[in-house]
Symmetry: C2
């Protein structure tokens, strides 16, 4: 109550006290240093003090520098070494180093020491009930009557442990949470490109994670190659940016192609060698309408050969069940720290209990779900074939996709010039003349100009034929 009773901030008081303890000697150093920073010190002092500090820093660094070839390196150093070393990849397999988890995730799991949360926990463990538990604890610490719901179930078609699922308001929120958990701001994720344009928004807006495209080419069937991965990894490290994860979509978006066993093994081995995470966005898994069959990354982990703690799967109901408006996404992680932190972060993106109830009743009818997915895949297959045929007739090459709600097509012939500018010009003409909006490959960070993503699933049969007609007429006009 007195003016000296400055309780508002204990940490500031701590600094004051420590400053007093140091005595006047410390002040003699601090004052000229302040002068240096503010440009108010003398010219001599302002130059000599930093000079002396740098001299001692150099001495210190010389003494403490560990000889690179022999000493056991800390995590970050070992990463940069492995990327430059010529030792065979297999030698990196054992022992397994724990994958990095961000300070934000560790902070989130460290919290909850407040009595407020301890009380809530005690109530949950021994809740009062007038009949069944009359000596239980009465909850008078929670201001709302919310049933903190956790829809844990079999949304994904695989054997998943419900306690490792974190529900979120849409898959974007689940992806963003991984950004918060697996990286510090300024860290990077590698992403084979072309990739889904929304990834940029999901990671760049708030998490501060940089996405580094790993260019894939038509000559490789738009598959990621180990060379491209290594190059992107090394170049990013060279810039002083730590790579924390490899982000893939399976089936891939925008290419619409499932990843085979060989590719999944290669990606898992790369993640292990670089000691980074592997994020698999499998949101179109139920929309694979043609062979080869979809294989979830979860399948590979059953062998026990790979360290599960670095693998995280994204799923949601928006694509396969056509329930985008429901905003139901799921993060499945094998890493307990990530699950724990994600559950706390999910406070900011929780799913309405009203929607959860409806979803549970939809999903519990597994006969219906199976029938729905089968019928959906049949229609996707039909529509994809119709579009593929129609576009081919117009002289437009379609990539052989087997999943997703889109085709990946090449229109380089129609561009005024074979570069990104030409692609942009074609996209603008399609929009203004043909009145068709498709996604240009450059928006997906595609390295080769001339590729476009054509989404065909939302149109009615009538509108689909109008769209095809417009594209065909436009193509004809362009070529004549």
């Amino acid at each position: 109550m007195t003016p000296n009773n400055n309780n508002s901030s204990s940490s500031s008081r701590g600094i004051e006290e420590r400053r007093k303890e140091r005595g006047p000697g410390a002040m003699r150093i601090i004052v000229p240093l302040q002068g240096v920073v503010q440009g108010r010190g003398g010219l001599v002092l302002g130059s000599v003090i930093p000079c002396a500090l740098f001299y001692f820093l150099q001495l210190y660094l010389r003494k403490n520098r560990s000889p690179p070839p022999t000493a056991a390196p800390p995590e970050s150093q070992s990463q940069s070494q492995s990327s430059h070393s010529l030792t065979p990849r297999r030698s990196m397999r054992s022992p397994t180093r724990p994958p990095f988890v961000s300070s934000r995730a560790n902070h989130a799991t460290d919290r909850e020491v407040s009595l407020h949360y301890l009380g809530l926990k005690a109530c949950k463990e021994n809740p009062f009930d007038a009949h069944s538990n009359p000596s239980g604890i009465i909850q008078m610490g929670l201001a709302d009557n919310q049933a903190m719901a956790g829809l844990m179930g079999d949304v994904l078609k695989a054997a998943f442990n419900p306690s490792q699922i974190v529900l979120t308001a849409g898959a974007s929120a689940a992806l963003e949470i991984l950004g918060f958990c697996l990286a510090e701001p300024g860290n990077a994720f590698l992403v084979p490109s072309p990739y889904y344009p929304g990834f940029d928004r999901d990671f760049n807006l708030r998490t501060g994670v940089e996405l580094v495209p790993v260019p894939c080419r038509s000559t490789d069937n738009f598959d990621a190659t180990i060379n491209a991965l290594e190059r992107a990894f090394n170049q990013t490290k060279k810039r002083g940016v730590a790579v924390r994860a490899l982000l893939i979509s399976n089936p891939s978006n925008p290419v619409g192609k499932t990843l085979d066993s060989e590719m999944l093994t290669m990606l898992l081995e790369f993640a292990r060698e670089k000691n980074i995470h592997l994020i698999c966005d499998e949101i179109y898994a139920g929309s694979v309408y043609d062979s080869p069959e979809f294989i979830s990354i979860a399948k590979f982990l059953e062998s026990g050969e790979f360290d599960k703690r670095r693998v995280h799967i994204i799923y949601g109901t928006s694509k396969d069940l056509g329930l985008a408006g429901f905003r139901v996404g799921a993060l499945y992680s094998y890493n307990d720290t990530v699950v724990n932190a994600a559950q706390k972060f999910a406070r900011f993106c929780s799913v309405s209990s009203h929607t959860q109830c409806l979803l549970i009743s939809i999903l519990s009818d597994s006969q219906f779900i199976k029938k729905y997915l089968r019928e959906n895949q049949r229609r996707l297959r039909e529509r994809s074939a119709a579009f593929s045929e129609g576009l081919t007739k117009a002289g437009i090459r379609c990539f052989k996709s087997n999943g997703g709600l889109y085709l990946w097509v090449e229109m380089a012939d129609l561009m005024p010039s074979f570069n990104q500018k030409g692609e942009h010009a074609l996209w603008e003409r399609l929009l203004s003349e043909a009145k068709i909006n498709i996604t240009p490959g450059s928006a997906c960070h595609c390295i080769q100009p001339g590729w476009f993503r054509v989404c065909f699933a939302t149109l009615s049969d009538h509108d689909a034929s109008v769209a095809l007609q417009r594209i065909q007429e436009f193509s004809k006009r362009c070529k004549t």
Copy 2:
């Protein structure tokens, strides 16, 4: 495709190119500098180069330093001056400086240059329809059939502009978004304490905003005083931490008291003088069950005396409508940059369209809503009075609350010692012996030990009487 074709990161390539343009002269400086940073350069060069750089820095700073007493100070300097100056507050009124908006918010509003988003925008402006707009643009760039819903309406009982409302999955998400928009990580918000324990989680988990309690005391009826605000502001600035906002709840949580016109004016003037934002959490506004009446901050802004751009209101359906499970919160801001960025951030916390539909149909029956709120207030008043009476009988002092779902009570008499340790011990005994969970004041950052928040609204009449009986018996046992 060739090893030299390092297209994976355009930014790194840009740096490479710029480095080449600089030529060998630049490299002669860069190489020893790298040595300095890595501790691998010579002792002499490693000390002389920084010394020389600091010398020129000092020279530069000397030349470019503006004389403080006359020149117009930049924003941050003027803030520290006003906090120390003795000029009357009224002189600060005009001209109005624009309130700070974070780089994250500016970055979010700057984005959307991707053709992907430009295409979506063009489709929205001229959408194809087989009948009404057959020459419109066909949407084949959006992979889902989501109706990107925007429930804009009259959830709040005031004249609000729908275009300034951003819907979020719960009020926590709306608060967190303000943390992202109004502050850089490491910045601070002032919060009169005791305050809602959830604020710590909402701002500390991911936004990196530090909450600085502004202690309020029973002798001031737990009102914030201008002295306490000034002290907290100055102490925070002294630590080198920028204060960006003042965060209040009205009616206050945990005290359960509405803020009067005088208090609101004082807070608005303080925010103006310090050029900081004012965040008003009005989530219990409809749960004010006794006089004096609730006054929204929006009311004050109608006079036009204050700069609206620094005011942001939080609302939600969880408390007043008992719909916590719906996860429907709202951020109302008068600041266009904040609204724009928040709309983008809300991608990660959007409300299920299924829940939005139900909510619209509930809210459109305004007769029902009025009746519901009136009945809810009547029951809150009754329950509050019953608890107040019962606790007073047990010798426990209750603060005169007029809103919220809780009472703010003093139990210092029952504590083994008059400090936070004693408060903790009493809370533990209440939990283990009386089997009652209430929120200790320390969890709300209350400066005075012995105060507790007792939530009374979630209990049935029977359970409420059991709870009261337990507290009364416990109090009797403690005193004998």
